[in-house]
């Protein structure tokens, strides 16, 4: 599967470190010197305490698929389909979620809750893009329970008409 057909990112003062590290296979987020929180995408400010004293830091360890989609539509000439896109969160790094492609299993076998490793692959314009690698066999389901209904604002429920 080739992921090089597409639109490359504009690299900015805020994102240059991320994209440079991506080319080296490393995932950078911003770490706050004041409160140690991780923020992503990089804005040059901590999203938790709003300190400006932040610096790029590599994160490692397993990620977990929050959700995914398998794209079948050829949006651009030459685009290879199907491919899975995954929203990945990191148990050890709360507050960080990264969108990327998925490798390591057929796209239709990817499921919510699946464990993935951090990875990158060649993307558009010679820029490496996040491309996670499925680690565990397909069929791993999200261990989190289905959520209970949450209360609505008072009186906002639809009542049966009399």
């Amino acid at each position: 599967m080739d992921a090089t057909v597409g639109i490359p990112p504009a690299v900015t003062a805020e994102t240059e470190a991320f994209w440079t590290a991506a080319g080296q296979g490393r995932l950078l987020v911003e770490r706050c010197s004041a409160c140690a929180a991780r923020s992503f995408p990089p804005y040059g400010i901590c999203r938790v305490c709003r300190s400006r004293d932040v610096a790029p830091v590599e994160i490692t360890g397993e990620g977990r698929i929050y959700s995914l989609t398998v794209n079948h539509q050829r949006w651009m000439p030459g685009l290879e389909v199907p491919y899975a896109l995954v929203l990945v969160e990191f148990p050890d790094h709360p507050g960080v979620r990264v969108f990327g492609r998925l490798r390591g299993c057929p796209p239709q076998e990817a499921v919510i809750g699946m464990t993935v490793d951090i990875g990158f692959e060649p993307g558009p314009g010679g820029q490496a893009i996040p491309s996670f690698v499925a680690r565990v066999p397909a069929g791993t389901v999200d261990p989190r329970p289905r959520r209970a209904p949450v209360s609505q604002p008072a009186g906002a429920r639809r009542q049966e008409r009399g």
Partner: protein, 395 residues
Amino acid sequence: MGTELLERRAVISGVGQSEIGRQIDRSGFQLTLDAVLAAIADAGLTVDDIDGLAMFPGGGKANLPGYANGNLYEIQDALRMTTRWRQGIVEGMCLPFYGPAMAVATGEARHVVIWRTVKEGSAARNAGGRPAYGSTNPVAEGPLAWLLPVGALSPVLQIAPYAARYQHEYGVTREQLGWIPVTQRAHAALNPDAVYRTPLSLDDYLAARMISTPICLYDCDVPADGATAIVISAADTAAGLRAPVSIEAMAGVVDGRPSWEQWEDMGRVGYATAAAMWNRTQLRPADVDVAQLYDGFTIEVVWWLEAMGFCEPGEAGAFVEGGQRIALDGELPLNTWGGQLSGGRLHAAFGHVAEAVRQLRGEAGARQVAGAQVAAVTSVGGYEAGAALLTAWSG
């Protein structure tokens, strides 16, 4: 309610549309003029009464491929007008009439026209298919840098993971959700201006090709050509208007992370907006006679049904199953013009507002919901949400 409800000082006085279709072989500028002039006449006003102009979107986005608003100043010049208030925006467009309502409520203007013109049907044809989002740009700027390079080349791929997550958490099925496009197609059959009017069955829906799981072809709205204009007037001009409609309440809250891929749970996108809106009225969900809920995708209707309190979280699948509740004679007639799924992607709830106004006036023809007095209108574009209640004019 200690704060004054400024929206009560504004009314929707006119709606107008150009011809609407998959492809209309006229310029966006002419379609805009058609809609603007029709809306002004519909309000019972003349061009000389209008002192405010607005369009969505404005700025550099006004004329992206398929976006055909034209230039606000050229429209003003062509119509030989004087304006006291103008607006062309992208951010903050929670509802088409939100900014204009504030303008007339605060006395900045008396009668404002806002329009939205699309030629996305023609743009898709010319591109040989629905083009990739942002594909005319050499690089992905700003938030698109986290979407386009990895292959999220369309809003379909941006919303699809949240649709999948919603289905995962609540066990809602495609067999249930399919009743939304199926029922809306039945409504479109009664709307001569709808783009698709031929019957759609649940089997048709289930057999449709996947665009990006779990979103199939019929879960996506229809790229279309056409213009919609809405006139907003100061409420104290009502005596001179043909058929005004009241704005009971409106709100637009962005509370989660305003990002397609960072939003914590896009299934909750309308909750804060709906809560803020219900706080501005004594009316309750049970009082709503007709609902025009934004439907860029089927799943957005699902989320609005729950956010607005028409059903409990996670229960929208059961609510729409079979289609009876959301039919014209049901408990909550939904997207009575066909919605964007069948009526065409007029975008930003312009089509939804136009239909709500027609329903509340009793001018919706064969699809009229008898005695409609209260209409809900919602809009959403990713994280930007808006909700309003409109009511029939009572003087």
